[in-house]
Subunit: 279 residues, 2 copies
Amino acid sequence: MELWFSETHSDDVRFQIRIDKHLYSGASAFQRIDILESRELGRILTLDGVLMITEKDEFVYHEMIVHVPMAVNPDIKKVLVIGAGDGGTVKRLVQYDSIQKIKVVEIDSLVVEKCREYFPSLTAGFDDPRVELVFADGLKYVRNTTCEFDLIIVDSTDPFGPGEGLFTREFYGSCHKALSPHGIMVNQHESPFYTCYRDSVKRTHNLLKAFFPVAEIYQAHIPTYPSGHWLFGFSSKYHHGTDVQAERWEKLGIPCRYYDTALHKGAFALPVYAKELLE
Amino acid sequence: MELWFSETHSDDVRFQIRIDKHLYSGASAFQRIDILESRELGRILTLDGVLMITEKDEFVYHEMIVHVPMAVNPDIKKVLVIGAGDGGTVKRLVQYDSIQKIKVVEIDSLVVEKCREYFPSLTAGFDDPRVELVFADGLKYVRNTTCEFDLIIVDSTDPFGPGEGLFTREFYGSCHKALSPHGIMVNQHESPFYTCYRDSVKRTHNLLKAFFPVAEIYQAHIPTYPSGHWLFGFSSKYHHGTDVQAERWEKLGIPCRYYDTALHKGAFALPVYAKELLE
């Protein structure tokens, strides 16, 4: 049988993956959830038909969203994660013994339930005693929190649908307020290449610059995301993204398949055209 | 009308581009040549159905294959280019006043003829008086040359079809012989991500290591190539790839859209999984 999952990366570009089995399809109050099995990329999670993770390259995204801020400030103790229902971000956070508290605010409990079922090794971190899982709208949660976090990771979907509120001025302002004086916020920041993403990349960066004295961008090669060239925002009240504490981080001995401290610095060296877009 | 160009990036992954017009289709003694027009990516050249360049992202590939060696050794005078019938590599080489001679050995004169017709701004460099265009098999040409080159750029197709000979022990040995004592060879080195490329990446790197005291690898984000994560080999009798002469290169004032000397160093910081593949 020929069964192909197809995703539009722009109006005129499509990415297709041959599927062995459609393992799960369901709908929550927020979105349609599908889990697919493929030979080349392993299991795949899509939300409203948009590819979120594949087993083959999720490590790139998750290592880069966690280890970059942790290597800049290995003293981070309290972490807030917005989104991240697939478990990949939490899996990397629980590798740090020094982290005391990981609060995960995911809007959709069905995503977590199904990822626990179909991605058991990715979601194992949810059982760590330091993790508190709250099912709530990240935008509203951060508005009302009185906690102080050293790191906020915005592991959101794209800026439409349930994730839309996580790309707004109000949300970033609330995050700024919820961060400790040396706090860092990292967010997935879309791609600089296809025309349809460029406005959102620019707008998000300008919002972040308005709140944070440090608002930098870094990149990674994520083959199954549109263009394969993905950006992350590194916003901070104090630290610069390239101030990596290489020696301290390496002593932790955290096994990685994408990230290391040499790559860390290179990740902040964006192509000229991406820098021009962000200026 | 719905007209889609489709390329298989692996047995189970396809990349598709909506086409406005099929501008040209022809066959030489070596391969089928097609030129397509698309809204998102501009004009596209394919050889035997495989995407070679798009107007939208050719600058990434060509800037990275030329400026990286030139910024390591701005004293390069004599350059040999193998392949490169689309003109993009030569376009960047002729930006260097210091280069005295650029010999281009392309197997297929029809590629050059059609690229001159459909990509006039990309091929303008062929008219530079320092450029000598030879239509010959690169493998045979390098075997018999008595010239000494400071830089050899292997701007080949994939390791099957007409480009196959440019991924062999014999070819790399001949290149080594044809290089000056401080000579550098740069080659397009495929992608580390999809299974179908991994053996070729490994084999090519091992061949290069056998000939050159310096055999390094660097990377770029090329959205329309398989996985978007593309590698280049940097092999040399003397220079290391990260020894970039930033100040000298920046003084040249060469306008770029991807490359700069900060990105240069980062390009050599490969992900852990790619380093492991190459070890």
